[in-house]
């Protein structure tokens, strides 16, 4: 019996678990994985190759790599082999000259430019001009510079060939630095907290979430729910629909409407002018007005969510309880305070936690209105990570860093959820299942 019931329980929650796995665990896991890489638009997200560039050598030399090693890597060498001959033929070098090279020097190698040049000058059908001679030399070049080695092994062999007695240290540095793909790293997090902008963005985020949540999502939502509850039915319905508009309007349209509304010569600016107040673009003109707009834009959307949820919960309170409280002598306010609000504890918890998380992670309204400005005064964490990872003017997208930012957001979200559940004594709310198995 025991095992059957728990089997049924598992069966019942399995769809939820599946959805949770697909839509929460997997993205969270991937975010976690990405955040420990240095993936960016220059590394790509698949593997890379090993390329030693002149720039890399310059940088390594500055970081104190042995000058001998550097020189050896920079040096070109030449060898007359089948590959080189084929390449030279393909590059339209005089075939007679090539035949002579093959006949005289096949299998030989030259360490420097000048050695090979001297050797070639001995041949009768060599080109007259030194420029053509150099062009003819090129296909025989054997250099590691700017060559893409697909695997680490190939790169190691080539480097070892160039620099005879290279130390293990230098080899390791060279290999890791010349890798063009992404690598595992924990540097993202260090980088984040070294940035001076980070703390200001954190402060912005806290301010934004806390203010929007308390003023609009919960307080205004509750206020609207309670007022519509006491309004006559028809009036209440109209009221509800009006407050739903921000939520059912497509977000881009909604943002554009706000833009028009607060434009330099839009409604707000004109009205302010009429009233003798400073008239400017209220969305971008000042920090205070920008914040006010950002919070209102998001708040009006959130308020309707709270309103709907609270209204439903309100209507599920048996009317006799409200009658009883009136007979007991409670005023309207006492009725709301002692009978209604305590029974809305669960929806309030739900709205608070759900909206904290959705405010923490939503950036689209801000992106479409103030875009984090003026300056970065209204930039929040989600917007910044979106920009870092996916939308950047300079075109260099840092997926790894962005993922690290997102991961921190997920961690904070989880922590907050746990705190909320404790705060609202979740255990008491869900105690026993209504039906005993």
């Amino acid at each position: 019996m025991r095992s059957r019931t728990s089997g049924l329980g598992l069966l019942l929650i399995s769809p939820a678990m599946l959805l949770l796995a697909i839509f929460f665990f997997t993205p969270a896991l991937l975010t976690g994985v990405f955040s420990f890489t240095n993936m960016s638009s220059s590394t790509g997200i698949s593997g890379g190759a090993y390329v030693v560039t002149p720039n890399l050598l310059k940088a390594l030399s500055a970081r104190g790599m042995q000058p001998a090693t550097i020189e050896a890597l920079e040096e070109a060498s030449y060898s007359v082999d089948a590959d080189g001959l084929a390449a030279a033929r393909a590059a339209d070098v005089d075939p007679a000259f090539l035949d002579e090279i093959e006949a005289r020097y096949a299998g030989r190698a030259y360490a420097t430019d000048s050695d090979f040049l001297a050797a070639l000058k001995d041949l009768p059908s060599r080109p007259r001009r030194i420029r053509d001679l150099k062009l003819a030399m090129e296909p025989f070049t054997k250099s590691v510079l700017n060559v893409r080695f697909a695997t680490e092994e190939l790169a190691r062999t080539a480097i070892a060939e160039r620099v005879a007695g290279i130390s293990d240290d230098e080899m390791a540095t060279l290999l890791s630095e010349s890798y063009t793909g992404w690598v595992w790293t924990t540097e993202n997090f260090g980088k984040l907290f070294a940035g001076h902008e980070t703390w200001r963005i954190i402060a912005n985020t806290i301010f934004y979430v806390a203010t929007t949540l308390t003023l609009f999502n919960v307080t205004l939502g509750l206020f609207l729910a309670v007022t519509t509850f006491y309004l006559p039915k028809k009036l209440g319905a109209i009221f509800t629909v009006i407050w739903l508009l921000p939520r059912i309007t497509p977000v881009v349209l909604y943002a554009i409407m706000w833009k028009w509304f607060t434009w330099d010569d839009g409604f707000v600016a004109v009205l302010a002018g009429e009233l003798g107040l400073p008239s400017f673009n209220y969305m971008k003109g000042s920090v205070t007005s920008a914040w006010t707009i950002v919070i209102m834009v998001n708040g009006f959307i959130g308020a309707s969510f709270g309103m709907i949820l609270f209204s439903g919960a309100l209507r599920s309170i048996p009317i006799q309880q409200l009658w009883a409280s009136e007979v007991d002598g409670a005023t309207r306010w006492q009725q709301v305070r002692y009978i209604i609000l305590p029974q809305l504890r669960w929806p309030i918890l739900f709205v608070t936690s759900y909206q904290t998380l959705s405010l923490l992670t939503s950036y689209q309204e801000i992106w479409l209105t103030t875009n984090g400005g003026p300056g970065s005064t209204t930039t929040v964490w989600a917007l910044e990570s979106f920009r870092t990872a996916l939308f950047n003017y300079s075109g260099s997208l840092q997926y790894g860093l962005g993922a690290a930012m997102a991961l921190l957001l997920v961690a904070v979200g989880l922590m907050l959820s746990i705190i909320y559940l404790r705060l609202f004594r979740f255990g008491e709310l869900v105690t026993q299942p209504k039906i005993e198995f």
């Binding site: 048996p318 006799q320 309880q321 009658w323 009883a324 409280s325 009136e326 007979v327 007991d328 002598g329 409670a330 005023t331 006492q334 002692y338 009978i339 305590p342 029974q343 504890r345």
Partner: protein, 351 residues
């Protein structure tokens, strides 16, 4: 506090539920409002408590017209049909609520709640939520909450519906005792006639939004104004036999005859009437006797119920102290107390 309903009218969305009802409840009296389901008992109660506004007429508490006063200002205590306890508060907090919203001090509240809890025997459950209480315990908490602030009027909407038989008996006398001790004017809504008869000073019988009769339990039992009420009062119920007037007697189509009570002289010959005989008026005393066969015996311990077939399709019921000398199928000839029988006309009105 005397309560007077004058031409009280109540309708929901144009649908008249109670039409010009007049009712007077005397100061300190317990009135039972008895009637079938849907007849408007709860509606009347809710109007008196101020939750429903009247659509016409007046409600007076004493000389004061409270028709337009909100319930907060009426000082009535109500026990609702489904208790309406506050689910998020424990029993103590539920009972304390009316005092708390009045801003009474903690010590005052504690004392008052303690007293009322003792009166209603719910001290052991004070820290439990309504969801953790049995139906009967919830009922008593609701009663305590209604009583705790000493209301002028106590309104009880089927307060005993959910109790087991023993607890129901106990609570019946308990409520009655509390009501008499506090001298509070009370209205008890019920559709159990035994409850109505045992608990109240007077009974008002309602049907389809109308008061049909209002009287003391005894008087209502003896002198019901119509057949409906006669059938409503008494358990086991009265037996009705339909027939016609035949001179000074009553006769059914199948030929069963009974003399009519002496008070009813000169009824028109052939008039359709029905006669109601209560079980206690058949089988013990009386000048007239009827013969029949016992068709059913139901022993009840101290007393027995007998069904006696006295004619084609006519079965009379008798209630007598337990006796073993008769059994099913046995012919008997028992007396009937003709003067105590009730006679109704074709419309069901008592003659």
């Amino acid at each position: 506090m005397q309560i007077t309903l004058k031409n009280f009218t109540k309708s929901f969305d144009g649908n008249v539920v109670i039409d010009r009802m007049n009712l007077e409840i005397r100061d300190g009296e317990m009135l039972a409002l008895l009637g079938p389901s849907g007849c408007g008992k709860s509606t009347t109660l809710l109007a008196i408590s101020g939750i429903h506004r009247v659509n016409g007429g007046q409600i007076l508490f004493g000389d004061r017209d409270v028709s337009n006063l909100p319930s907060q200002k009426r000082n009535v205590g109500v026990v609702f049909q489904n208790y309406a306890l506050y689910p998020h508060m424990n029993a103590y907090e539920n009972i304390a609520f009316p005092l708390q919203v009045r801003g009474q001090s903690k010590t005052e509240i504690e004392k008052a709640v303690g007293q009322i809890a003792a009166l209603t025997h719910i001290e052991p459950y004070m820290s439990r939520r309504p969801g953790q209480l049995s139906g009967g315990q919830q009922q008593r908490v609701a009663l305590a909450r209604a009583l705790v602030r000493r209301p002028d009027v106590l309104l009880l909407d089927e307060p005993l519906a959910n109790l087991d038989a023993k607890l129901r008996l106990e609570m019946r006398s308990e409520i009655r005792r509390i009501q008499q001790e506090t001298g509070i004017t009370a209205i008890l809504v019920t559709h159990d006639q035994v409850e109505a008869m045992s608990m109240s000073d007077r009974i008002a019988i309602m049907d389809q939004g109308e008061i049909m009769q209002i009287s003391t339990p005894d008087d209502m039992y003896r002198n019901p104004v119509n057949r409906f009420i006669a059938g409503f009062m008494g358990n086991p119920p009265i037996v009705m036999v339909d027939g016609r007037v035949e001179g000074t007697a009553f006769e059914t189509t199948s030929g069963f005859r009974l003399p009519l009570p002496g008070r009813l002289g000169g009824l028109k010959h052939g008039r359709p009437i029905s006669i109601g005989i209560r079980p206690e008026h058949f089988g013990s005393t009386g000048a007239h006797t009827v013969a029949g066969t016992i068709s059913f015996v139901e022993p009840q311990g101290r007393e027995s119920h007998f069904d006696v077939r006295v004619g084609e399709g006519v079965v009379l019921r008798s209630i007598q102290p337990s006796r073993r000398d008769v059994a099913v199928g046995q012919p008997v000839e028992w007396p009937i107390d003709i003067e105590s029988t009730l006679v109704f006309d074709e419309q069901g009105k008592t003659l």
